[in-house]
Symmetry: C2
């Protein structure tokens, strides 16, 4: 579990660095797919990861901080700010937490349940999926995307 | 580990079904990003997954079968054909296999090493990444993409 989180954080940092080479207008431009622009997608990735980790800890999330973050610097700062807490949670993960139940409420007010194990993997897959979208936008900008390879990153 | 493979297989099947609604010319059209067309991307996903599982088992891969597969039906058939073997390998995965070493040879002839654990996660991330690319192409075609959510799939 932890290796995939560390993979996501490494890839995210590379995308944040990649973004520094782009003018703001390209970071903010509305694009097809994903949640819209490059900045909105990065913001969404950081927000979703932290929100779920809050849910698993029974803590309120900090969605209002993400709603007001609209620059690359702010998003990078939020990513960095919440990393130690998330990293601590992921490092402390134990196999017996897999089947713990998270009670959630759907938008229509009805309730649903997830296991902690599926939520953790949902968070992992969520970021990789959006990074795949970023890679298409990168090629549309005629720029080389960040490598999606998990091997050759010294993660093992 | 197994849940993420099962997630990928479920999502892949939904994309294969989604593709049935598209005319062949759209499946074959060269697109920006990924390995080109929708069909080439799906073929690549199935090929890469099986090739790595062969490597981990010390078996020759079957790349020539993938080189000659160029229709949706052929790719779906290869995906289905290799599933039992891959599924058996994934189900038999044990934590002590994590640190086993796979010797590999780079294109330039030099050697490199991976742990079995990182290869397994590389395979998982590889498919999710390419499915993210598919989702952008789907929106470009003005079609709703397959959901990337891992929750609400009954995987736990």
């Amino acid at each position: 579990m932890e290796m995939l989180f560390r993979y996501n954080w490494q890839v995210r940092q590379e995308w944040l660095d990649w973004c520094k080479e782009l003018p703001t207008v390209e970071l903010e431009r509305e694009r097809t797919g994903g949640v819209g622009s490059i900045l909105k997608t990065l913001n969404h990735i950081v927000d979703v990861e932290y929100s779920w980790i809050c849910d698993l800890q029974g803590k309120p999330d900090q969605s209002e901080l993400f709603q007001s973050a609209d620059s690359l610097e702010q998003i990078a700062a939020l990513s960095e700010h919440f990393r130690p807490e998330i990293s601590e949670y992921v490092s402390a993960w134990k196999p017996e937490m897999e089947q713990q139940i998270l009670q959630a409420v759907r938008e229509d007010g009805s309730s649903e349940q997830y296991t902690y194990g599926e939520v953790m993997r949902h968070v992992i897959a969520h970021e990789i999926h959006h990074m795949g979208q970023m890679s298409v936008w990168s090629r549309e900008l005629d720029k080389k995307p960040v490598s999606a390879n998990l091997i050759r990153r010294g993660l093992a």
